[in-house]
Structures are given as structure tokens and as C-alpha cells.
Amino acid sequence: MRIVESLNLIENRIVCFQQDIGLLKKKLAEVIVGQDQVINDLVIALFADGHVLLEGLPGLGKTHLVKALARSIDLPLSRIQCTPDLMPADITGSEVLLKNHEDGEVRIDFRQGPVFTSLLLVDEINRATPKTQSALLEAMQEHQVTCAGETYALPSPFWVIATQNPIELEGTFPLPEAQLDRFLFKIIIDFPSVDSLMEMISVSLDNEPADHLFTILTRSRIKQMMEEAQNVLISDTVRRAAITLILATHGNLEKQSDIARKHIRYGVSPRGLHAILKAARIRALCEGRGHVSIDDLQQVALLALRHRILLNMDSELDNISVDEILQKIISLWRKNLPGS
């Protein structure tokens, strides 16, 4: 009897997770019209405790999406508008000299920067200098900030959603590989279809739909959901399949595809393996499963790996994109899996 109750409890938890995520996606889709896939990917990345890099042309609703998300999940949002003269202290915060007017005491106090939040929107991140960009490294990886020898913990959950414009090159600083590797997903926002545009006009021409959003998930519920995701089972076969996929992107390893050898200079890091498995767990829960499947890996692979691969000069000269190469590698990987 106890076992049956336990089974029902777990089943209820999975169903609740699925419903909550579904509701969040639905509400976001009402605000950001025609970008259902982007919303789905964004939610998966955030609940996998990862950061997201949104890449798209201006006006596609990147900032709007993040704002709507912040309203839906009841988490504090900070925004950093990156410019070339932005300094690291402007992000992390700095120690300032404070004078108490009552007793005239002077003391040094740490003033927190915008990074001390749960949801950090870094707009146009590639406009900031590498020095400023690297100020985010510690915060993104270790969820803490060190300033003047003091370490300050960041609130949990801590998510960074950065945006960048793919076509503007002048006055921009491409993100270094170390920085890119810290993003769980790189989501590319495509131009919406005609139907989506028609719907968008009717929804948001005269009013702001995000204003009507209400809180769907609280902080505690979000943390609970993230903990539940850690219980999702990953079989050894699936783990091995994920490792095979990571190794397939390395051009200098034995177990590789010819495509990787020909086009890729540096493959995916072990952090990429973590990323793909974490994201696959959330996707499995979104599908109402308590275990990760090969399909989950395949679905999140492109998002989790596309920014972790460095192409060689030949591929760049031939104008072959990372996505093309990665899709070939993924399809080949899937084909060569045992039992396929």
C-alpha cells in the first residue's frame, strides 16, 4: 500500500511539473506570438539552471520575452545595457566610501551591482568590452561575486539571459569561448511567419499584453521543480550516447565523423555534456517522463552545442555554418547508435 502511495505521489509530481511548465509556456506564448519554440527552449534552459544567449535581429521581441518571463515567475529582474564604456564594477558592484551624517563616521561599504538579482538581462552583450564581459564569468559559473577580496553569494535561482545582434559588427566584441561555454543554450530567434505577424498585430498593436500577465510560479515552486528535475533517471545507455555525441564533435579524436575532422577545430567541452544532460532531464519532465531518452538528447543537442564548437578556417571561408555541421553530426550520431 505504501508503495502504491509512493508511486502515485511521484506520478502526481511529474504531472504537476508538466502542467506548471505548460501553463508558463502558454502564458508566454500569448505575449510573444509565433515564437513557441523559442519559449519552449528558454523555459527548458532556465529550469535546468542554465543561462541563455538569445541571438536575433532587433525587434524580434528578445527583451520583451525576458520581461514577460520575469513577470510570470515572480523573480526580480535587472537589466544591463552593455556599451563599450561599461566597466566590470558597473555589473558586479563596488565598494564605496560612505559617511554617516549623524555621527560623521566614514566607512567603506559594498554596493551591490545589478548582478545581484535572480533574472539578469544583459542586453547587447557583445557591445561590452571583453574585460566587462569577463566580469560575468564568476557570477554565471559559480553564482557568486568576488569584490575586494570579499565573496558575495548570488540569490538562487540566478539566471542570465543575454541578447546579441548577429549582424552588427562595428563596435562589438565577440564573446570569448570561455564566456560562450557558460551559456547552457544559444537560442536563435528567427523571423516570425506571416500568420504569426497577423496574430501579433491583433494582440499587441494597441496594448501591452505583458501588463496583463500574473505570477504563475513562485520562487519556492521554481526551486522545487529544479530539485525534482535532479531525480529524473538517466540510464547508462543514454549517458553513453551523450558522450558519443560530444566526442563526435571532436575532430582530433578517434571516434569521430569525417565531418568533424574536416570542419571543426575545437569540439564540445565536458561542460557541454553536463548541459545536454541537464536540458534533456527538463525536456523529459515536460513530456511527462521520469527518465531521459535518446530523443531528448537529440532535441536539445543543437541548442546546447552550437556555441561550444569552433570551426576551422576552411569552413569559415566556405561559409558553412555551425548549425549545418552540427545537424549532420547529430543525424549521423543517431544513425550509428546501437539499436537504431
Partner: protein, 372 residues
């Protein structure tokens, strides 16, 4: 889902047993599929090889039926071995189940959970096994329509091909190109009672003795045609008889001649028998039949040919008609052999030529007989 749950209760089986039973059942089905597939394929190969060897036997050179069957049966044997080696493992079966029933890696995870002893992840373990058990009940009914291998039309075709190939193997084969009926009967009657294969007799004779046959023919006083066949202890050389007759019209004539003399077994060749080296005067008693043909304006030039000896391996090996020791010093035996040889010497060296050459020779002798 409720039905599945009630089924679980009804069966009163634990999820573990249910999963194991289901996977085992599917594994057996898959294995039978693989078995059928490989056996079918190997049977098709078997048929192909049988046909191939049968054709070789029929048109090129005679083959031993036993060896042909052994070679062909090797295909079936290897097919059997492959099918046994390809028997799926439990994990492969789980992969297959997930793929077949859109299981999303459920069965793989369940199987791994069953085989693992780790106590971590206990929270989802029972739940997942329960899910897998329910899925097994649900999928069990679908295994009736599982991907069972069924032989296709190619198998029936292969069966027919096997029969045809076997029929070809049973034929005398390339020996048909030489009319050996008279030869074998003559040999059996006159010379060797223990032998049944006249061609073996002559191959053994060619091995032991140097046979040289020369036939000189003059045609209408224009050309002196000579014809020489020699076998020099295993060295074989062939020269084209028509090497000097290069013009197209002559070739056409010869082709026509060949067509006309296709079925002429042996002509009367008494005019050349005296030129056969090593053959006595008893050659005149040879039972040659005569048949007219339409050879006209045939011109031959002296051509020297030598018999091939690649089929001559006879000494004291079992199965061959007789050995050297059988007839050395035995005059009666030697006479009888020589008689047979004289009667059929043409056959023996003809078997060393190509079919067109043989036909040409037959036609030539017939022509000579006609002129006589």
C-alpha cells in the same frame, strides 16, 4: 491505462518479472526474425552458387557434384552461424522495443535499473519500473503483429534455381560437346571392363604415351593442308587453325561449315589413319559412320596443334580406369586399348580443342572422306 493496471493485478506479477518476461519474449521473436532472414539470404546465395556451378558444369568443364554441393552448402552453414551470432542481447532487445513501440528509452532504463544494484535514484526507480510494467502489458498485445520475417518471392525463386542448378550438375556437362557414347561403349566392350569413363581412358593414355597425329590433306591440288596434334608430356600449346585463313568470306564458309557439321559424330577417316603415329593397321576396322555434308571449296593450310594436358593427372589414383602398371607388359590389354584408341583417337584430341576447332576438324575429315 486502467485496463493495464487491472491486468497487472490480475496477473499478480511483479513489475520486474513482467518486464523480464516481455523482453525475453520479444527477444525470441527478434531472433527468429533474424534467423529467418539470414537463412533466407543464405538459401538465395546457395541457389545462386548452385546455378553458377551447374552452368560451369554444363558449358565449360565438368565438375564433381559432391564438391559443388559442399561449396553451395557452405552458404547455408555460414548463414546459420551468422544468425546465431546475431542473436540480440537484452539491451539490444530493449532498444528494439523502444524503437518499435515509441518507448522513448523506457525499456532500456527499466532493464538497466533491474540489472543495477545502486541504491541511488530510488525515488524514481519503483515508479519507472511500474511504468515499464504497464507498458509491457500494453505492448504485449501488439507483439502479435510484430515484425515477423516472412519469406518473399525470392525464396521460391531461389528454390527453383536450386533445382535447376542441380539439374545442370547432373548433366554430363561439357563432355556433351564430344560425342562420347560410341567411345565409351567401344572401350567398355573391347578394352577395359572396370572403367566407365572413356575420356579418363584417353587422358590416361595421353599422359603415359606421346601421341602425335598427323593428317595431311590436299584439297583440289591447290593447297597442301597438314594437321598435326601432339601431346608432349603435359605441355600444352594451342594454335589457331585458321590463322592463315583471314579473309571474311572464308570465315563465313567455315562458319557455315561448322553449322552444317554440328551434329556429325565421326566421319569416315580411313584416309588419314595411316598417318596416326603409334597406331597399328587395326585402325581400318574402326566402326566409323559416314555422313555427307556440304563442305565446298574448303582450303586448309598446314597447322600444327598440340593437345592440352591440364586435365591429364592420371597415374595410380583410385577412380581412374587403369594405371600404367595395368597395361605395361600385358599385350592383350595393350591391344585392346590401342584398338579403342584408334577408333576414337579423334575424340581424344578433339576434347583438347575448342568447340569450333573440333567442328572444323570433323568437317575436314568428312570432306576428305567425301573426296575419297
Amino acid at each position: 491505462m486502467e485496463d493495464s493496471k487491472s491486468m497487472v493485478n490480475m496477473l499478480a506479477l511483479s513489475n520486474e518479472i513482467l518486464i523480464k518476461q516481455f523482453v525475453k519474449q520479444v527477444r525470441n521473436i527478434i531472433w527468429w526474425n533474424i534467423f529467418g532472414h539470414y537463412i533466407d539470404r543464405s538459401f538465395q546465395f546457395f541457389a545462386g552458387i548452385m546455378l553458377f556451378l551447374g552452368m560451369i558444369n554444363l558449358f565449360l568443364f565438368p565438375l564433381s557434384i559432391e564438391y559443388c554441393l559442399i561449396v553451395a552448402l557452405c552458404c547455408l552453414f555460414f548463414g546459420l552461424i551468422f544468425s546465431v551470432k546475431k542473436r540480440p542481447t537484452i539491451i539490444e532487445t530493449a532498444h528494439h522495443i523502444d524503437k518499435q513501440f515509441n518507448g522513448q528509452s523506457l525499456m532500456i532504463t527499466a532493464i538497466e535499473l533491474l540489472s543495477s544494484t545502486g541504491k541511488e535514484e530510488q525515488q524514481f526507480r519503483q515508479w519507472l519500473l511500474h511504468q515499464a510494467g504497464l507498458a509491457c502489458i500494453k505492448w504485449k498485445f501488439q507483439t502479435k503483429n510484430f515484425n515477423r520475417y516472412r519469406p518473399n518471392n525470392l525464396t521460391a525463386l531461389a528454390g527453383g534455381t536450386v533445382l535447376m542448378g542441380f539439374f545442370f550438375m547432373l548433366q554430363p556437362g561439357s563432355r556433351l560437346l564430344v560425342n562420347t557414347t560410341a567411345l565409351s561403349s567401344a572401350v567398355q566392350k573391347k578394352a577395359v571392363s572396370k572403367t566407365t569413363d572413356s575420356s579418363s581412358l584417353f587422358t590416361s593414355l595421353r599422359e603415359e604415351s606421346r601421341v602425335s597425329v598427323k593428317a595431311e590433306v590436299s584439297n583440289s591440288g591447290k593447297n597442301n593442308n597438314s594437321f598435326t596434334v601432339a601431346n608432349k608430356q603435359g605441355t600444352t600449346k594451342k594454335k589457331n587453325i585458321l590463322e592463315t585463313n583471314k579473309s571474311k568470306d572464308k570465315l563465313n564458309e567455315v562458319n557455315q561449315l561448322n553449322a552444317n557439321t554440328q551434329n556429325i559424330p565421326v566421319g569416315s577417316r580411313q584416309d588419314y589413319r595411316h598417318n596416326i603415329d603409334g597406331i597399328g593397321s587395326q585402325a581400318d576396322n574402326a566402326p566409323f559412320s559416314t555422313k555427307d555434308n556440304e563442305i565446298t571449296n574448303l582450303r586448309l593450310k598446314p597447322v600444327k596443334m598440340e593437345l592440352p594436358s591440364n586435365d591429364v593427372t592420371h597415374s595410380n589414383k583410385p577412380g581412374l580406369p587403369f594405371s600404367k602398371q595395368d597395361y605395361v607388359g600385358n599385350q592383350e590389354f595393350t591391344h585392346s586399348v590401342l584398338n579403342a584408341r584408334k577408333q576414337n583417337i579423334t575424340m581424344s584430341f578433339r576434347s583438347g580443342f575448342s568447340s569450333s576447332q573440333q567442328q572444323y576438324i570433323s568437317a575436314y575429315f568428312n570432306k576428305r572422306h567425301e573426296q575419297k
